[in-house]
């Protein structure tokens, strides 16, 4: 092992001191005393430097040195260098932190950091503006204690999907969109966005569609009425028989479209969750399926694997079942078959319509629930569809927290599956225990 030169010089100095002491001891006698004195001198010198080193580490600036070179000078120089480095790094981090703070503070979206217990760890200026939080008092409080909307509290317990829209606590007509993003071990970031404008635009659009549909319906009723009278009157010239019949069919179709449009707008503007009335699914499906049997279409078969009932809105559930069965029946040739299944699964219940119809191409599956989207425009229109059936199904299912899954192979047939969650389903055994 080679020693650095500063150590060599230090040891040389010590050795020199001891040799000098020995020489003096040899010259004057009492060598032991001279040696002890020299050692003591060296200890004192070292202690003195240690004392100043201690002060220097405490942050004391001016350090008197006995040595301008050698071990101690080197040690102090290095301490000073470390301190300068640390100071610079601290300054850099400070600046960085300030920049981060300023930029997050300048964000238009509110941000709140929550810990595992939903306690507020940090929030930016936008969050305090949007929610009325106070930097001096609200850190450490639970967010759901300050933002108490039942829907939001539920969402905070189980943040799924892409956030939730709640009324603004500060402006009566305002709307906020909150999304919770988990990160790190168990921290969560809440992003809050003011969506008042979007909400208003959305409402205007919805109101317009609803009003337009309503306004169109009354003149259409008059037209349909006269067309019907014309059709029944015997004195229509032969050349006009078929045009009148066609007009009647088109008027009927238009009535259906308007009815579906009104239904769809109603579904969109209603509260997020459907009411929880007791709906006897078995009693509803039997006559519904019967309606499709013996129409000259494909054979329709009902398979009831469970007697479960649903908690939901009767008219909407009927609309879901009817539209799905109707679609299957329309897109399946008379030689094919449609199977309607009601069964229990994963604690909840599943409504399934399996057909051997024309099927849907894979790339079109995600789009079929869009309003007025048609896989094959000519064909579906000829079959009397409104283009709104699946859009209605999708919205009505959403309001029952149910999920729609579509599986299909072109030319082979499609399967539409609606999964209803456990708390919307009542089994006979539940009903019995509720009575007891």
């Amino acid at each position: 092992m080679t020693l650095p030169s500063r150590w060599a010089s230090q040891i040389a100095a010590l050795a020199g001191l001891l040799v000098t002491a020995l020489l003096f001891g040899w010259w004057f006698g009492g060598a032991g005393w001279w040696l002890a004195g020299a050692a003591l001198l060296y200890v004192g010198f070292t202690l003195r430097h240690l004392y100043w080193l201690d002060r220097a580490l405490d942050g004391h600036r001016r350090v008197p040195l006995f040595e301008t070179r050698g071990l101690w000078a080197e040690v102090f120089a290095r301490v000073e260098k470390l301190r300068t480095k640390a100071r610079n790094r601290k300054k850099k981090y400070h600046r960085l932190l300030r920049e981060v703070r300023e930029s997050t503070g300048a964000l238009a979206d509110g941000g709140i950091i929550l810990n595992a217990d939903n306690e507020i760890m940090w929030f930016n200026r936008a969050a305090s503006n949007l929610l009325g939080l106070d930097q001096s008092t609200d850190l450490g409080h639970r967010l759901d204690n300050l933002l108490r909307y039942p829907d939001f509290v539920e969402y905070l317990k189980k943040p799924t999907g892409d956030g939730i829209t709640v009324g603004s606590p500060r402006h009566e007509t305002g709307w906020l969109h909150v999304q919770i993003i988990p990160y790190g071990t168990d921290q969560r970031l809440a992003i809050i966005r003011d969506v008042t404008t979007e909400k208003n635009v959305e409402r205007t659009r919805r109101d317009f569609v609803a009003n337009a549909s309503h306004e169109l319906r009354s003149p259409l009723t008059v037209i349909s009425g006269y067309l019907e009278a014309l059709g029944e009157a015997g004195d229509v010239p032969d050349a006009w028989q078929s045009p009148v019949a066609e007009m009647q069919r088109q008027a009927e179709r238009m009535t259906r479209i308007l009815r579906d449009l009104i239904e769809l707008t109603r579904l969109e503007s209603a509260d997020a969750a459907a009411s929880r009335d007791f709906v006897d699914v078995v009693g509803m499906l039997k006559p519904l399926v019967q309606e499709f049997q013996g129409r000259g279409g494909p054979s329709v078969e009902l398979v009831l694997d469970t007697d479960a009932a649903l908690l939901g809105k009767e008219s909407e559930l009927h609309s879901i079942f009817y539209n799905l069965v109707n679609n299957a029946a329309r897109f399946t040739p008379p030689s094919g078959s449609v199977k309607v299944v009601w069964r229990a699964a994963d604690g909840g219940a599943v409504f399934e319509v399996i057909d051997t119809g024309i099927g849907i191409a894979e790339e079109q599956i995600p789009r079929v629930t869009e309003r007025f989207y048609r896989v094959d425009p000519g064909r579906s229109r000829a079959m009397g569809g409104t283009g709104l059936g699946l859009a209605i199904v999708k919205h009505a299912l959403q309001r029952h927290e149910a999920q729609l899954a579509i599986a299909s192979r072109e030319g082979k047939g499609s399967t539409f599956t609606c999964r209803f969650p456990r708390d919307r389903v009542v089994f006979r055994s539940d009903a019995v225990s509720a009575v007891l």
Binding site: T137, R148, P150, G167
Partner: protein, 246 residues
Amino acid sequence: MEVEDLGHHISRRFNEDLERVRNSVLSMGGLVEEQLDRAIKALSDGDSQLGLQVAEDDVKVNRMEVSIDEECSRILATRAPTAGDLRLVIAIIKTITDLERIGDEAEKIGTLSARLASVERPSTNYRELRNLARHVKQMVHGALNAFARLDTKGALEVVKADSAVDEEYESIYRQGITFMMEDPRTITRILDMTWMARSLERIGDHAKNICEYVIFMVHGKDVRHIGIKNIEVEVEQASRRLESRT
């Protein structure tokens, strides 16, 4: 009791119990706020379905009251809390009673809104009622915020606001009498409106009560029935004591 007191206990379970029951009071508060909100919306939109829905949903509030009440009894029986914890439990028991009453008043407002939806609406579309409702809603919101933050200053603000609400109620009442004398055909409607104003005024009183419990919980001072001036003095003194101690 300092705010931090809530966070330190020898038994972690006890701590969690208290914290959980406090949180459920605030969720119940959130539910009540929403009920009130929807009841008022039913009135201003003339939405009878929403009004009836509110009346129906009151059972949710009642259910929460019962379950929180049970939880409090359990804590009292098994943990025998003292000092600040005892005050917290007592304040919670009282608060949920008032919250439940607010829920009942919201139910009444919902039912009345459903009824008013089917009769002719005044040209102002119940502006006075909506104003009163806005103030009352702010009071309930403020009371629950004060409860969440253990903020006695905020509680004091709400207590002070109550007299303005009382005055507003008074003026709606007098106005109603004038209208009824002018045109007896409006009597049914005006009576319903007066009932509604009455319900709102009562909600204001309940919000004020909750604030008094907050002051009791934080400072251990019973400030009921001593007048606004005295409440102010008590809160001022107590918070100064608290500051000097910390």
